[in-house]
């Protein structure tokens, strides 16, 4: 282990960590935003559920590196365009998230929804004021899983030349230099921990009642 290498290359590490973050942020947010309406539809209509849930589970079966190579042809983008990665990772995020989100909405329960309607909420108010807040904790848990998996998958993009901490994996392998690879692994884990903390913090701000009522669940 050569910590002096890490110190000497701190600029490069920071630069690649930033590139890593840039590719990862959008898919995490997008997969949450896209999964919520899909899951709501699947939760409300049996017919939609029969199509949407299996389709999202098939997305999960797609292997990442081959998808990174296939997408440019389908989208007409350049092979090196980070957009390919963003779209592929968003698809994986949706695959992980839809199932969780459907379960989250299911767990809210028909009684609660009917009560909300009975006290005069419109259907859209039921969604925004009742179902979405109550589904908040499982949605947040799902986002944490998506975040960890996205950050880990971004590095695979290094194989097709999209810059990220994964560059340390390929370069370190070619130079047979374990320190460099370990730097990339540690960097990815550190980013995952930071992202997780941000999501938990955002959850506390957006769902302030969870901590007060659900302490025993944690």
């Amino acid at each position: 282990m050569r910590f002096d290498w890490m110190a000497d290359n701190s600029d490069r590490i920071l630069e690649l960590a930033l590139a890593h973050v840039k590719v990862a942020v959008l898919p995490i947010i997008l997969s949450l935003l896209i999964s919520i309406p899909i899951a709501w539809l699947a939760h409300r209509r049996k017919g939609a559920r029969r199509i949407l849930v299996p389709v999202s589970s098939v997305l999960y079966a797609l292997p990442s590196l081959p998808l990174f190579i296939l997408l440019p042809v389908i989208l007409g983008t350049k092979v090196l365009d980070p957009l390919n990665l963003v779209i592929a990772l968003t698809l994986f995020g949706i695959a992980l998230m839809v199932r969780t989100a459907v379960d989250a909405f299911d767990s809210v329960g028909r009684m609660t929804r009917d009560d909300a309607l009975a006290v005069g909420h419109s259907p859209s108010q039921v969604f925004w004021r009742v179902a979405l807040p109550l589904a908040g904790p499982p949605l947040m848990a799902g986002t944490r899983v998506v975040s960890a998996s996205t950050l880990s998958l971004v590095s695979v993009g290094a194989l097709i030349g999209v810059p990220s901490l994964g560059y340390f994996f390929t370069n370190g392998y070619q130079r047979a230099f374990p320190t460099e690879i370990l730097t990339g692994v540690l960097g990815t884990v550190v980013l995952a921990v930071i992202f997780d903390a941000i999501i938990v913090l955002a959850g506390r701000l957006l769902l302030p009642w969870v901590r007060a009522t659900d302490r025993r669940r944690a």
């Binding site: 098939v58 999960y60 292997p63 194989l159 097709i160 692994v185």
Partner: protein, 231 residues
């Protein structure tokens, strides 16, 4: 889209299918790497998961471990083991199998303990009252009732392993990743794309097989006992 047609033409050429570097051999290699790792992971994770689910011991450790393993980037682990193990570069199958097995452990472990935990405590007590010993309770009651979740865990483990076995070719091994890395080395995008399509097709085919197996092999009584009906 023309590139896609080229890739399908590449796939349709019988010359690309035969021989030691042909698509047929690469598929077999790919399946071999995946199966090897899956068997190891099942042997390690499923008994441990059943034990945790049955006794309730070590649950916190299992949750922490599975979470930590999930955050590790597999490409990083693969390259790190390859260059730091003494036989990592000469016998690349060793680091490759370790990484693939590590990838498969969290979903299998989680499915095993969650599946057993989800079995109604009354059912377990009933089995105990009718005179089954602990071993019989696990094998005759808890495992069959946990089967749907176990299959779900096996499915996500298998899919992740097949996807990641593509990276084994980066260490110089065979498998379908060969077409991607060899194509990239000579800027033969058609070959890369052809290889990518075969991996995707393989993953989807295996996924379909697992779903079929789940539908036809699970005992009918399980669906009834879990209230999901005899599907």
């Amino acid at each position: 889209m023309n590139q896609l047609l080229d890739a399908f033409a590449w796939l349709a050429d019988p010359a690309h299918w035969s021989g030691s570097g042909g698509i047929g051999t690469r598929i077999l290699e790919h399946v071999y790497y995946s199966l090897l790792a899956l068997v190891l992971a099942i042997v390690a994770a499923v008994p441990a998961g059943l034990f945790i689910g049955h006794t309730g011991k070590g649950r916190a450790v299992a949750i922490g471990l599975t979470g930590a393993l999930r955050a590790l980037p597999s490409l990083g682990l693969l390259t790190f083991l390859a260059v730091s193990m003494s036989l990592g570069l000469r016998l690349a199958i060793v680091p490759s199998t370790i990484v693939l097995a590590i990838l498969a452990i969290p979903p299998l472990l989680a499915a095993a303990y969650a599946g057993v935990e989800a079995v109604d405590a009354d059912v377990v007590d009933g089995a105990r009252a009718t005179g089954l010993n602990e071993w019989q309770i696990v094998t005759r009651v808890e495992v069959p009732l946990a089967a749907p979740l176990l299959v779900g865990g096996l499915r996500s483990a298998t899919l992740q392993v097949i996807a990641t076995a593509t990276l084994s070719a980066y260490l110089g091994l065979g498998g379908l990743g060969r077409f991607i890395f060899d194509g990239q080395a000579v800027r033969d995008y058609t070959q890369m794309l052809g290889g990518a399509i075969v991996v995707i097709a393989l993953a989807l085919a295996v996924d379909g097989l697992i779903l079929l197996a789940k539908r036809y092999l699970l005992p009918q009584g399980v669906g009834i006992a879990l209230g999901t009906g005899a599907r």
